[in-house]
C-alpha cells in the first residue's frame, strides 16, 4: 500500500503530551508477565551444561547416566540440533553458539541440556553428563589474538578484505576501510597533531531480566514459544530455520521484556528449549541464571583503537585517521566495520581514513549493544578531539562546531549528508548553563558528541475500531520502553480521538504480519509510521461508512478533527459523525472497521547527540563521582517526551557505567571472573546525579510527524564525555575504559613520578 511518509507540518494535539502508559498498572502491581512468568501444563524445567574451558575440543560426551536418571525427560546435544543452516555463516554462528558442535569456544559455551521434572533433578542430571575435553590454548584479548603466534580459533578463517587473499588462517576475520581524501597530505599540512592509542573493555547490556522462555512442541508439528525478545518474528525465523520447522506452525508470543538493549536480538537458548520439548514431548521452561547471562549471552566488543588527528593552528582539522580492532567473540560479526564507519561521522573532513579489524577471541559471542560499536570509537575520537583542543588552546565546543559535519558534508563512511542535527546539539551545548557553571577543587568537565545510524525496516500493524468507538491497536514491534503509550498517542492524533480510547498491544506472530525487531532505534519510528498508515486506512473506511449513512458520494465526505464531515454546502444540515457514531452503525454499514498497514519504514535518518559531564575525582583513591550530567539530542518530534527523556537518561547511565566501572574480567585460565552484579558493577542509584535532558525537535523529513528514533544515540557520547571530564579533573589523559579507581590512581602515580 502506498504511503506518503513525507513530513507535513501540522499542529499536533496528542503527540507531545505525557499521558499515563497503558501497561503502567500491570507493571506497578506485579501483574505484567515477563519471560519467566508464564507456565504451561506438564511443563519441564531445562538446564544447560556449559563448558568450563575457554577453548576445548569436545572429544567425547556420554549422556547415558543423565538420561537414565529418574525424572529426566530429555537430554540434547549438538546432535539434536543438526546443522540446517545451508552455508549461512551468520545463522551457523547462532546455532553453534546455542550448542557447541566440535569445540567449546568460550567459558560458558553450551555443550548439552536437559529437561527434567524439576530443577533439582535437572541440576543433578547435568552432573551426570560426562564430557571429555581436550583443552586448547585460548586467547581472550583483542590485541593478543592478532599477533602472529596467537592460538587460532578457527582453522578455516582467513582474513577478508585484504589483497592478496591470505593463505594462513587468522583470528582477524576481516579488514574494512573507509574514508576519502589523502590523509598523508592532510597530516603534512597540519600545524598540530595528536596521536594516541585507546582501549575499552568488554561490557554487557546488563538487562535485569535474564533470558527466559517456555517452548512447547506438539506431535502434529506445531509449536509455541513464549519468550522475552526484542523481536518475536525474528526469533520465529531463527528457531524455524534451526529446527527445521515451518514458520507458520511456530507461534511466538513476546512476553513483557525486562530490558534488552540489543542483547535480545537473536536467539541464545530458545532453539535448545524447543529441541528439548520436541524430544520430551512436553512443554519446557528455560530460564538462564545471571551467571549464564554474563557468561553466555552477548556482551559488546572489547576494543583497541589508535587515533591520529591533525589540525591547522586555526583549528581546522586537516586529516584524521583511526585503526580500530574489535573483538567479536568466537564468530565474526561486523562490529569493527561499524566502529570504522561511525568514528569520524560527526565531522566535516577533507582527508579521513578508518580501518577496522574484526577479531575473534575466546569470549562469548558479541551481540548488539545500543548503537553497537559507536561508543568505543567515539571514546577514542572524542578524547583525541579534546586533547587537540587543549593543544590548540581553543574551547572544545568551538573546535567541534568549527569542524562539525553539516548538510553537504561527505561523511567519513561515504555518503553525503542531507540535513543533519549535530550543529544544533553543539550550539545548544555551547549556550547551556551547564557549560559555564563554575567547577570546584578536583572537579573537571568534559563534553563529547555522538553519532548513530538509526534505521526503520519492515513493519506491520492493525488498527481495529470497536463498536463503541474505541480503538484496539496491534503492533509487532516489542515495547521496550513505553512505545505502546507513544503509538497510542499517534493513533489518537491521526484519528482525532482521545488517547484513553486507544489500547495498544503487541501482537504475537500468528496474529500480525512480519515485523523486524525493536532495534536500531526503530520501534517508535517505524511502528508510528505503520500506525499512521493504518489509521488513515481506517479513516478511508469510516468516510465510506459515513457516505453510506448519509447516502452521499464518498468524495463529498472528508475527515477532520475526528469526524466525518460532509463537504460543501449542499449537505448543510448533516451534523458531523464521530468515530463513535460511525462505529456504532458499523454492523449495518458493512461490518467491522479496521485499518491495516504493511510498510517498510526507511528514511530514519542519522542521529546526533552532545553530552556534558562534570566529575569530581578523589586524587588519593582515584574514585570518580559524576556530579552533573546533561544530554542534548535531536528527537525529530518527541511523541511522549517523558519516555524520550527516559531513553536519553538511560543511555547516559549505561555509558557512565561503561566509562567508570563495568568490564568483563578474565583470569589467566580464560574464565570469566565476574559473572554477577556484585562484581560486574553497573551504576547504582547512589552513583548518579539527576540527568538533565534537552530535547531538540528538528523534524525528520521522512516521517509524517517528523519523528526520529531516539533509543541508541544517547549511549555514544558518555564514555568520551566522562573520560574528558576525568582527564580534565586529574590533568592526565585517561585512555583506558573503564576508568576504574586503580587505573586512575595508577595514571596519577605515573604522572607524579
Amino acid at each position: 500500500m502506498s504511503f506518503d511518509a513525507a513530513y507535513q507540518s501540522q499542529k499536533l494535539k496528542s503527540v507531545g503530551t505525557r499521558p499515563l502508559r497503558p501497561d503502567g498498572v500491570d507493571k506497578v502491581t506485579g501483574r505484567a508477565r515477563y519471560g519467566a512468568d508464564f507456565n504451561m501444563p506438564g511443563q519441564l524445567v531445562a538446564r544447560v551444561l556449559r563448558s568450563p574451558h575457554a577453548h576445548a575440543r569436545i572429544v567425547r560426551m556420554d549422556t547415558g547416566a543423565a538420561e537414565a536418571l529418574k525424572g529426566v525427560k530429555a537430554v540434547v546435544t549438538a546432535a539434536d540440533l543438526p546443522d540446517l543452516t545451508n552455508g549461512d555463516a551468520e545463522l551457523f554462528a547462532v546455532l553453534d553458539n546455542c550448542m557447541a558442535r566440535t569445540k567449546a569456544l568460550y567459558d560458558g559455551h553450551a555443550v548439552a541440556a536437559v529437561a527434567a521434572i524439576d530443577e533439582r533433578t535437572a541440576k543433578q542430571a547435568l552432573k551426570l553428563i560426562e564430557v571429555e575435553y581436550e583443552i586448547l590454548p585460548h586467547v581472550v584479548d583483542v590485541d593478543a589474538a592478532m599477533v602472529a603466534d596467537a592460538p587460532i580459533l578457527n582453522d578455516e578463517l582467513f582474513t577478508g578484505g585484504v589483497d592478496p587473499k591470505p593463505d594462513t588462517p587468522s583470528n582477524v576475520a576481516n579488514r574494512a576501510e573507509f574514508g576519502h581524501g589523502d590523509v598523508d597530505a592532510g597530516f603534512a599540512e597540519a600545524d598540530f597533531i595528536v596521536e594516541r592509542s585507546y582501549k575499552t573493555e568488554q561490557t554487557h547490556q546488563g538487562y535485569i531480566e535474564p533470558h527466559a522462555c517456555v517452548a512447547s512442541c506438539n506431535p502434529d508439528g506445531t509449536a509455541e514459544l513464549w519468550v522475552c525478545t526484542q523481536g518475536h518474528f525474528v526469533f520465529r525465523q531463527n528457531c524455524a530455520d534451526l529446527l527445521g520447522l515451518e514458520v507458520s506452525k511456530l507461534r511466538v508470543t513476546s512476553s513483557e521484556i525486562g530490558g534488552g538493549f540489543g542483547g535480545k536480538t537473536h536467539v541464545w537458548a530458545e532453539p535448545v528449549a524447543l529441541a528439548l520439548s520436541r524430544k520430551a514431548g512436553r512443554p519446557v521452561k528455560l530460564v538462564m541464571s545471571r551467571d549464564e547471562v554474563f557468561r553466555a549471552s552477548g556482551p559488546t566488543s572489547a576494543t583497541s583503537i589508535d587515533v591520529k588527528i591533525g589540525a591547522k593552528a586555526d583549528g581546522k582539522i586537516t586529516a584524521a585517521m583511526a585503526t580500530l580492532r574489535y573483538s567479536s567473540g568466537p564468530y565474526p560479526g561486523m562490529w569493527a566495520e561499524l566502529g570504522a564507519m561511525t568514528s569520524f561521522a560527526c565531522y566535516d573532513l577533507e582527508n579521513v581514513k578508518t580501518v577496522g579489524f574484526e577479531v575473534i577471541v575466546n569470549r562469548p559471542k558479541v551481540a548488539a549493544y545500543r548503537a553497537p560499536s559507536a561508543p568505543m570509537a567515539a571514546f577514542a575520537v572524542e578524547s583525541a578531539i579534546d586533547e587537540l583542543a587543549q593543544k590548540l588552546g581553543v574551547n572544545a565546543v568551538e573546535l567541534r562546531i568549527k569542524n562539525a559535519a553539516r548538510e553537504g558534508t561527505k561523511s567519513s563512511y561515504g555518503p553525503v549528508y542531507g540535513p543533519i542535527g549535530i550543529g544544533p546539539t553543539l550550539e545548544a551545548a555551547q549556550s547551556h548553563p551547564h557549560m559555564s557553571a563554575p567547577l570546584g577543587k578536583n572537579q573537571g568537565r568534559g563534553m563529547a558528541c555522538g553519532f548513530w545510524f538509526n534505521f526503520g525496516g519492515q513493519t506491520c500493524s492493525d488498527l481495529n475500531v470497536n463498536a463503541d468507538g474505541t480503538v484496539a491497536l496491534a503492533v509487532g514491534t516489542v515495547d521496550v520502553g513505553g512505545s505502546r503509550a507513544s503509538l497510542s498517542l499517534i493513533a489518537a492524533e491521526e484519528l482525532g480521538i482521545d488517547y484513553k480510547d486507544v489500547k495498544a498491544v503487541v501482537a504475537d506472530t500468528a496474529t500480525l504480519g512480519y515485523n523486524d525487531m525493536t532495534d536500531g532505534s526503530r520501534g517508535t519510528f517505524s511502528s508510528s509510521m505503520a500506525t499512521i498508515s493504518a489509521a488513515r486506512n481506517a479513516i478511508a473506511i469510516m468516510r465510506a461508512r459515513a457516505a453510506l449513512t448519509w447516502d452521499i458520494p464518498v468524495e463529498d465526505v472528508y475527515w477532520e478533527d475526528g469526524h466525518a464531515k460532509a463537504a460543501g454546502t449542499k449537505y448543510g444540515n448533516l451534523s458531523p459523525l464521530s468515530v463513535r457514531d460511525i462505529a456504532a452503525e458499523s454492523g449495518n454499514t458493512g461490518g467491522p472497521i479496521a485499518g491495516h498497514s504493511e510498510l517498510v519504514a526507511d528514511g530514519a535518518g542519522v542521529s546526533f547527540a552532545t553530552h556534558i559531564c562534570d566529575v569530581e575525582v578523589d586524587p588519593e583513591t582515584g574514585a570518580t563521582s559524576i556530579i552533573r550530567y546533561t544530554v542534548i539530542q535531536d528527537a525529530g518530534k518527541a511523541v511522549h517526551p517523558s519516555y524520550v527523556e527516559g531513553q536519553y537518561q538511560g543511555g547516559a547511565a549505561q555509558g557512565i557505567g561503561w566509562a567508570l566501572n563495568e568490564e568483563y574480567i578474565y583470569g589467566a585460565d580464560g574464565r570469566l571472573q565476574n559473572s554477577g552484579f556484585l562484581d560486574y558493577r553497573i551504576p547504582v542509584c547512589s552513583d548518579l546525579p539527576m540527568i538533565d535532558t534537552q530535547i531538540l525537535e528538528i523534524p525528520n523529513p521522512n516521517h509524517p510527524y517528523g519523528v526520529r528514533g531516539v533509543g541508541e544515540t544517547s549511549i555514544v557520547p558518555p564514555l568520551a564525555a566522562t573520560a574528558n571530564a576525568v582527564s580534565n579533573a586529574v590533568g592526565v589523559r585517561m585512555s583506558h575504559i573503564p576508568m576504574s579507581p586503580p587505573r586512575i590512581l595508577a595514571a596519577l602515580n605515573a604522572e607524579r613520578d
Partner: protein, 81 residues
C-alpha cells in the same frame, strides 16, 4: 546513468571496481543489473546490502527511485541495539 560506489568488501566481487556506472531508475533495477553483471554480488545483495541515496539509507524499500545525478552507495546492512 547512476554511479554507484561499493563498500570495500564488495570490490573484489566486482572485478575490483570501486565505482560502477549502471542505468537504473530504482534500487531494484540497480541491484538486479549489478547481479547480472557481477553474479558474485548476488550473495551480499540478498542478505547484506543497504542502499544510500543522497545520504538517506534504504534497507528494504527497493522501489525507491534514484534521481538523476544522485549519489548512490552500497553499504552493509547495519546491526542495531
Amino acid at each position: 546513468m547512476v554511479d554507484v560506489t561499493l563498500w570495500g568488501g564488495l570490490v573484489p566481487l566486482a572485478d575490483d571496481q570501486k565505482t560502477l556506472s549502471i542505468e537504473a531508475d530504482t534500487i531494484r533495477e540497480l541491484l538486479r543489473k549489478l547481479q547480472e553483471r557481477y553474479p558474485a554480488l548476488s550473495g551480499p545483495i540478498k542478505n547484506e546490502v543497504a542502499v544510500v541515496i543522497d545520504g538517506v539509507i534504504y534497507r528494504n524499500d527497493w522501489s525507491q527511485r534514484i534521481p538523476e545525478g544522485a549519489e548512490v552507495f552500497l553499504m552493509r546492512r547495519l546491526a542495531g541495539g
